[in-house]
Assembly symmetry: C2
Homo-oligomer: 299 residues x 2
């Protein structure tokens, strides 16, 4: 399972029961929370997200609609008796705010709360199963996007063929890595005795940004790209002035980046209906969907 | 109109679609917000509270379930273009937190945001129409209750009688204040020519507290007392340990204080049903109601 569940799809002002930005990415048994607007802990309860499985929280930038819910979520985890580490990746300043909020309440968390400061593009987490990297967007204040990638999956052994070719079982791990096998000067090609696995998938969360072509390069070829689309195309000037994007700008980035699918979110509270976002974006990039709260999109 | 609308009636952990503490007191055209837990701005929208009429916000203490929603509400007011002053009465520390949150967002409010530090019991606002005072409760950290009082209302002129007694119209304002009239050595008693007005009403919000008898003195005779009741009576020991009250303790305070009516809130997320709070409290103090979100209780 690799998917993203939308907890909030609205921009700064909550409206029409749409909430500020928050998403949960599920990768097998691991949950990642990306952004944490006000009310995220309620949305987590509403959509039955298992908060104990969240070990990593990524905060794109320090506009309130992307982090005001963090302190409530964290202190509730404390009240629920959490003991596991919680890692928060955020721009400088958030740790100080959270610490001050804990201090005035004369409280401390019963679990290690570990802050990692976002300061340059690159790898945040890299382990045998997945990696998370961050990249810069162009917003009014420093702002980061995140890419979560499955690791390249091992090939699958075709046991019948492997046995027929007399490959010893001890060599199977090497076969999975794609190596050929050599015996008595004879080469057994890897592809004769293995199947390809499904390709490794990747999800890019592109946080608040104005239209910024470099994002297409940074997110090239991901399976699913989330890109903000605060306004419809007729409000491009407003989008530029406020460092946000329009429906068609998001779609243009998706097309340039050659991604499989595009997910639009961060809709302005100007819009009660979201249909036009989809219509406009699909004219540029057909494989577009709208981020709807409570819905899980497969990566 | 003098009433209180409940926006959040739950204690720290949001549960069963109950929210952390927040209440709006309406006194004629004036709205007062008391406490502002996470999600208050959404509750304000949900229950169609006119946020532009809120000029005073009172924060009882700096446990998150009583103030985490403040920064979101304030910044949304800014986005909506508010220009009127907003006064926030809170314990020391909150102003610094809010300022730091504005600073990291590189933003400032388009209206004067004025903090008043709660440091001693007494009058916070005193004008010809109403007064607001604060009093200390006993909680794990410094915590304040608030009393909002209408000013004593002028008596009403009984015009027929006043004319019959030859009281000049120029003296009517004095009659309204309760003074007698003297003419040619003859005394016209005030009550002969006026009616009593309805008595001035008062609302006391008693924030988080353990059972603390002094509160009965501080809130003596108010029309409506809100008192926290985090637990049912069988959990009195837990209530003591956590500086909270039980249903029957709240009712005992109401009885001792001689208030007209009692409103219970701040229910623990342990309880899905709230019925027992009412049953237990009514055994001690009959005129008790439960604070239910979205409901307005007349003072």
């Amino acid at each position: 399972m690799f998917g993203v569940t939308i907890l909030g799809n609205n921009s700064a002002l909550p409206a029409y029961d749409r909430h500020p930005t928050a998403q949960v990415v599920t990768l097998n048994e691991q949950l990642f929370l990306i952004d944490c607007g006000e009310g995220t802990q309620m949305q987590i309860s509403r959509y039955k997200i298992r908060r104990s499985r969240i070990h990593h929280i990524f905060i794109s930038h320090l506009h309130g609609d992307h982090y005001f819910g963090l302190i409530g979520l964290v202190t509730s985890m404390g009240l629920l008796g959490r003991e596991q580490e919680l890692h928060v990746y955020a721009p400088p300043g958030l740790e100080e705010i959270v610490n001050m909020q804990l201090k005035v309440a004369v409280t401390s968390m019963p679990f290690p709360l570990i802050f990692h400061t976002l300061q340059q593009e690159g790898m945040l987490i890299d382990n045998p199963k997945f990696s998370v990297e961050c990249f810069e967007t162009q917003h009014r204040i420093p702002c980061w996007g995140f890419i979560i990638r499955e690791k390249k999956k091992p090939r699958k052994i075709d046991r019948e063929k492997a046995v027929a070719h007399d490959v010893p079982a001890a060599y199977y791990e090497k076969l999975k890595e794609g190596l050929d096998y050599e015996r008595d000067g004879k080469l057994i090609r890897n592809e004769w005795v293995t199947f390809a696995n499904t390709p490794a998938r990747s999800y890019a969360f592109c946080a608040d940004t104005k239209y910024y072509e470099a994002i297409a390069e940074k997110t090239r070829g991901v399976s699913l790209l989330y890109h903000e689309a605060t306004y419809l195309k007729d409000l491009e000037e407003r989008a530029i002035a406020r460092f946000h994007s329009t429906s068609v700008q998001a779609a243009a980035i998706a097309a340039k980046a050659g991604v499989d699918r595009l997910l639009l979110g961060h809709f302005s509270s100007k819009y009660e209906s979201l249909e036009n976002f989809l219509t406009e974006a699909k004219e540029i990039f057909e494989r577009t969907e709208l981020a709807i709260e409570g819905v899980t999109y497969k990566v």
